[in-house]
Symmetry: C2
Subunit: 350 residues, 2 copies
């Protein structure tokens, strides 16, 4: 295996010491201009570049942050990564991605793989299984080892760390308010089981909006989908069936709020098949502004989550913590940053 150029080689060939080479390359005033020039020229010739690993070892920091997400084939997470990358790169950090695949053990393994010095801190959105189990030991341990940790989107109150979330409740409320203002009188919600925090919060927003308008919630109109199989084919069949039943049993439903864009698109599809005209007979609003929302027919009105902002905010918080730790600064109390949502109106509402 060919060895890369090192300080040692440069030193030997230039017949000076390693320290001289190191200092010369850094324009140290201890070294004569003459030597500096010689060293630099030779270093360039041999295409010398410092070994990052050695630096990491020496400096005890890697300039790398780890992001662990449940799934990468998912527009929202992808946006977040983009935001993280952007901010991180601008600060000279690299980003290493771990996929939990919604599995608890994968999440743990991935974190362990990285928590041994490979990264300076974590940005995490919990795996579904972790939310179900409510087993947060690996987070606690990470924190105990003083590895900074920032959670986003799928967060949990028990863990004392910085968090970046969206105001799910408020977003949902806005969506449902909008539906009501646009004339919808009977509004259903397509949501997830309650252990998914965002599903629970969005359902809460839905209920609040109804309450504020003096509308009594109807149990039948609240469809909680077990998203074990989200984005898997047969999962959608179940969803379709439930939407069909809903529209069959409650023919006067004229508004649907879905807690993600996929549910919304599926609902629109079923409704269209059943002869509904959107938005005239039925108005639909989703959550998350992804590819589907933009290109569905009709295009989907949706609550934008600003994933990229979440990502860069998370990266910012994390890097602050890293600095705090490295420079032994006093610890600031943990923050929870709420990224504001907003409604993007498109073809699925009047």
């Amino acid at each position: 295996m060919k060895k890369r150029t090192t300080l040692k080689q440069l030193a030997r060939e230039l017949d000076v010491s390693i320290s001289t080479v190191s200092k010369a390359l850094k324009n140290s005033p201890e070294i004569s201009q003459d030597t500096i020039d010689r060293v630099k020229a030779f270093a360039k010739l041999l295409n010398y570049r410092p070994n990052n690993i050695a630096l990491s070892l020496k400096n005890r920091k890697t300039k790398t942050i780890g992001i662990i997400i449940p799934d990468i084939v998912h527009h929202f997470f992808t946006k977040v990564i983009k935001g993280v990358e952007k901010y991180a790169n601008s600060k000279g950090y690299n980003v290493i991605v771990g996929l939990s695949n919604e599995s608890f053990s994968n999440e743990v393994i991935n974190m362990e793989m990285l928590a041994n010095g490979s990264i300076d801190g974590f940005i995490i959105s919990m795996a579904r299984e972790t939310m179900q189990r409510q087993d947060y030991q690996h987070y606690t341990e990470t924190l105990n080892e003083e590895i900074p940790l920032v959670m986003f989107d799928r967060v949990v109150a028990e863990i004392p760390c910085d968090k970046v979330i969206v105001d799910d409740t408020k977003g949902a409320e806005i969506a449902v308010n909008t539906l009501i203002n646009k004339g919808a009188t009977k509004i259903a919600i397509l949501t997830t089981k309650d252990y998914v925090s965002v599903g629970r919060l969005r359902t809460k927003g839905y209920l609040e909006a109804l309450k504020n308008h003096g509308i009594n919630p109807i149990r039948d109109l609240i469809i909680k989908i077990d998203d074990e199989l989200l984005y898997e084919e047969d999962h959608l069949d179940v969803l379709e069936k439930q939407v069909r039943e809903l529209l069959l049993n409650h023919t006067d439903v004229n508004g649907i709020f879905a807690v993600n864009e996929l549910y919304a698109v599926v609902a629109m599809k079923v409704a269209k098949e059943m002869g509904y005209e959107i938005p005239n007979d039925l108005q639909v609003i989703g959550f998350t502004d992804g590819m589907l929302s933009k290109h569905a027919t009709p295009t989907l009105s949706t609550i934008s989550q600003h994933g990229e902002s979440m990502g860069s905010k998370a990266a910012e918080l994390l890097i602050q913590r890293i600095d705090e730790r490295v420079n032994d600064l006093p610890k600031e109390p943990t923050k929870t940053v709420v990224i504001s949502t907003n409604l993007i109106q498109r073809g699925s509402t009047k």
Copy 2:
């Protein structure tokens, strides 16, 4: 800053040497069972875990691979990452992601940031700008430094490295053949400018299919879109306009092959607006099986690229090269692996 547990600490507290600790933890026969037990117990107590960075430095390998892609908000690349992650993790590797954002300089910067020892090898799909410039110096340099490199999807013949591609020509041919077999007689193609290799090759497949069926290509039916702004809003306006013109000027077009799913979905949208019934009046086939294809109305027949397979194959090739390099094995000639495509038939064809 709290320091993590190291061998040195264990050694001091157990009053043995560092080497003894190290060996004990590795069950070395040089160390008495008694000591081994003591060391292990104490290590566990202090939650010792070896510092990966130190290991990387010592072993001169990082067990990390870098993947550089043009855009992460893109279903196909996301699938590839997933495949890479899966295979890499199974071999004990981590994955570090760099985003070129379709920019040449970003690509170069990202590679340089990682090529200084942070990773053992690269998996890359070229940025659009790099393809346009045809400036491959950074690849050549990487190869010169004997850092293994595997390219996928957007590849270029000039670089002597392993590659993983899809048989774009064949895939396109299958798509167009299918359209013809299903009764389409006048088929248009929505493709990219020629510098995008995949666009060029898919156009080639389109032409070959026509030729094999004795159909003369018509210049007007070949729409080459400048995808500078792919996935940006105003880009789509241009695309819509072109499709509209196409269908206006050639009312007998009854088949469209699009080189990606977005073009296909946009075409369907325009056609539907103009009163076409899909698939009866017009059949459409896309390329890449993403979210849009699955949830468009009608659902889109498309050529699946098997992004995940590409990813894991790329990772496999790369890790082989890394082993080859690390163990100073004889160098195998570079391979180009072709992942076979297949047509997924859905609602947009008869």
